[in-house]
């Protein structure tokens, strides 16, 4: 508790500490001033009493001095010293020499403050005053303290009671008017922050029309502003998101188209528009695997334009290209929809025929040969004819790649070439 009071983590306690410290300092200051004033007043009073005392005893002391009654002087001094306010007494003769000196305190431990009252000792002889000396009576601060001690015990007790009552009153008041509302305010702010519920506002249970009420109102206004701002932000965000989604969709569509184009461009031969060598093999392989699984057959036709180098050398590469295109178009028209047709070399073409046995493949190959043989290509006023050689191979149960078919078809193609070209060799 004490530790918390000196190092509080609570605003009201901190304020209380400051106020209480100020109050304590002021109380100490005022009490100190009061004590000092009381001290001065009491000292003055004691000084008056000393003067009266000195005046009172001056006559018997004078008589005793006059009559050299040292015992009486001693007795009077001892009696004086018994007085509660008297701390010492000095009696001097007319030559200011000490006749008697008595102190109630140890001379080695003189009280804090010594003060005195003196009275001249005289004697009337024959109606003439004779100076005998002086009587000095001493008192000290300890006497003053003794006299004011009781009052200051009362003042101290009253101060302790006042401070205690004020302390607990302050604790209650600060808790009631500051700590509790602030704690509730913090709690409600946390709830609002955690719940994120719109429209919720701070509502303190006990709030007078003071700064806390204004703080509550201002925070509620701030929450409203934040909510409005959030709504606007959300709407802007939604709008941006919709725009972005549309843009992304549009872009995605464009990318799909471009992708398709790229895919198409990647799969086709740039000149003839049929499958290029890689695509042809890519598409052929699954068909071969599928036919093996279904215990059916695929056939592979490998075609090569006869003497194509002569065409190029005779008519130029432009015409050669036209021949390739012409061949591709014409052959494509003769093929079925599931058949694969591709350009696998300069003037080499291949056809994969799914679910087609060797005989059917031979027929198709020969049909192509014949169609090519009778066709005439007109290019720049020139009529170009050409022939092709074909090798046909059909799949066998052990084939696991198209390369097997290619090799066997290639052997047949060479046989056709060797046998005079423009023929099908199966």
């Amino acid at each position: 508790m004490r530790f918390r009071f000196f190092r509080p983590n609570n605003l009201s306690r901190q304020l209380l500490r400051v106020i209480f410290s100020i109050y304590l300092a002021v109380t100490l200051l005022v009490t100190g001033i009061q004590f000092f004033a009381e001290y001065v007043k009491t000292k003055e009073s004691i000084l008056n009493e000393l003067e009266q005392l000195a005046r009172t005893v001056s006559a018997p002391v004078s008589t005793s001095l006059w009559q050299y009654n040292d015992k009486q002087v001693e007795a009077l001094a001892s009696g004086l010293l018994e007085m509660p306010i008297v701390e010492g007494i000095d009696i001097f003769n007319q030559h200011a020499e000490t006749v008697l000196s008595k102190k109630s305190y140890n001379i080695m431990s003189i009280p804090l403050s010594i003060f005195s009252a003196s009275y001249d000792l005289t004697w009337f002889k024959n109606e003439k005053e004779t100076k005998l000396g002086a009587l000095t009576v001493y008192s000290s601060s300890s006497v003053v303290f003794d006299r004011i001690l009781f009052n200051f015990i009362l003042i101290f007790i009253a101060s302790v009671i006042n401070i205690s009552i004020l302390f607990f009153s302050f604790v209650w008041a600060f808790d009631r008017f500051l700590s509790v509302p602030l704690t509730e305010l913090i709690s409600q702010v946390d709830d609002i922050r955690m719940d994120r519920k719109t429209g919720r506002r701070i509502s303190l249970p006990v709030v007078e029309n003071n700064e806390l009420k204004k703080l509550q109102d201002h925070m509620n206004m701030m929450f409203s502003d934040i909510e409005n701002h959030q709504k606007k932000l959300l709407e802007d965000e939604k709008e941006k998101r919709n725009w972005l989604e549309d843009a992304v969709a549009k872009r995605t569509e464009e990318l799909l188209v471009a992708n398709e184009n790229l895919k198409y461009l990647a799969a086709k031969d740039y000149l003839t528009g049929i499958l290029n060598r890689r695509s042809f093999y890519d598409y052929s392989h699954p068909l071969l695997i599928s036919s093996q699984r279904n215990r059916s057959f695929v056939s592979f036709i490998l075609m090569d334009i006869d003497h194509f180098k002569v065409i190029n050398d005779t008519h130029g590469h432009f015409v050669g290209d036209k021949v390739l295109v012409h061949f591709a178009q014409m052959t494509g028209e003769l093929l079925r929809k599931p058949d694969l047709f591709g350009r696998i070399g300069g003037e080499e073409f291949a056809i994969l025929l799914p679910d087609t046995e060797a005989d059917e493949a031979f027929r198709i190959a020969d049909e192509i040969r014949k169609a090519v043989g009778i066709s005439v290509l007109d290019v720049d006023g020139k009529s170009i004819t050409y022939t092709i050689s074909l090798g046909v191979a059909s799949s066998e149960p052990g084939d696991v790649s198209v390369d097997e078919l290619f090799k066997r078809a290639d052997v047949k193609l060479y046989e056709a070439k060797n046998k005079g070209r423009d023929r099908v060799q199966a």
């Binding site: 006059w66 009559q67 050299y68 009654n69 015992k71 009486q72 002889k125 024959n126 109606e127």
Partner: protein
């Protein structure tokens, strides 16, 4: 030694012892003496001196000669009087002569002394007492309760008269009163003081003040007569016997014996009259 000789010696010894016992029963009676301090006439013994004063010495002289033993009680005068009245003391050696039938004591016939009074003045003071008129304007010292009425009614009246208060210094105290008065005379605070001449001599001697002060005669008109007093609690016959012993003894030591006793204390009777 023969048998007869031995018996004879024992008989003599028994007779001596019996005789000695009988004698003590007749003479070794103890008298209780109460006395106060009044040097040099009565003095309390101290560590430095066992002297008891002139009057006590006289008492011992008188009663010892008659086989009495004295037991002393040093007390203030008032206590001594009370003790005599109560019978706790048999004798108080000195008490001022007065006629008072209601006293619980009886005076002896012979006074201890009929003291002459004198004044003490400064050595250079030519003043002398010539009646009460002569002290007017002088500052007179006196002790409280000091009764001069038996010596001079006019002097006592003068001291007691409130109109003379400014010229009368009443000095209170104990055994130092006379000492202080003498010092006051020296310091010119008072001018004169009257007392027993023996007392004044004794104090002047003791304080060695003869250079500053002098005893001035004449003193007061009458002498101060003091007598021993005896307790009425003593059976009358016995009391009369004690008084008789004193009266006879006091008369017997007058003259040279008395002077010797006074001289022991450095004083003498100097009454110039």
């Amino acid at each position: 030694m023969s048998k007869h000789n031995l018996l004879g010696r024992l008989f003599i010894l028994v007779l001596f012892a019996v005789g000695l016992g009988t004698g003590r029963a007749g003479y070794a009676e103890t008298l209780k003496v109460c006395y106060d301090q009044w040097p040099p006439l009565t003095i309390f013994p101290s560590n430095g001196s066992s002297a008891r004063g002139v009057v006590i010495d006289m008492f011992e002289e008188v009663y010892s000669a008659q086989g009495y033993e004295l037991e002393f009680f040093e007390v203030p005068l008032a206590r001594g009087l009370a003790m005599v009245s109560d019978g706790l003391c048999d004798i108080l050696p000195e008490y001022v002569e007065a006629v008072n039938t209601e006293n619980d004591f009886v005076y002896a016939n012979e006074p201890t002394f009929a003291y002459t009074t004198a004044f003490v003045v400064r050595r250079d003071d030519p003043w002398r007492y010539l009646g009460i008129q002569s002290i007017k304007g002088k500052r007179v010292a006196t002790g409280p309760g000091w009764d001069y009425s038996s010596m001079s009614m006019s002097y006592q009246s003068y001291i007691d008269d409130p109109n003379n208060a400014d010229f009368v210094e009443v000095i209170a105290g104990y055994d130092d009163v006379v000492d202080r008065i003498l010092r006051m005379i020296i310091e010119d605070r008072v001018d004169l003081y009257a007392d027993n001449e023996l007392v004044l001599q004794h104090v002047l001697n003791r304080l060695n003040l003869h250079d500053e002060l002098q005893i001035a005669f004449p003193g007061l008109e009458k002498k101060l007569v003091e007598r021993p007093i005896f307790s009425k609690k003593i059976p009358a016959e016995k009391r009369q016997e004690l008084i008789r012993v004193w009266d006879e003894g006091r008369l017997s030591i007058k003259g040279e014996k008395e002077s010797m006793l006074l001289q022991k204390y450095g004083v003498k009777l100097e009454d110039p009259s």
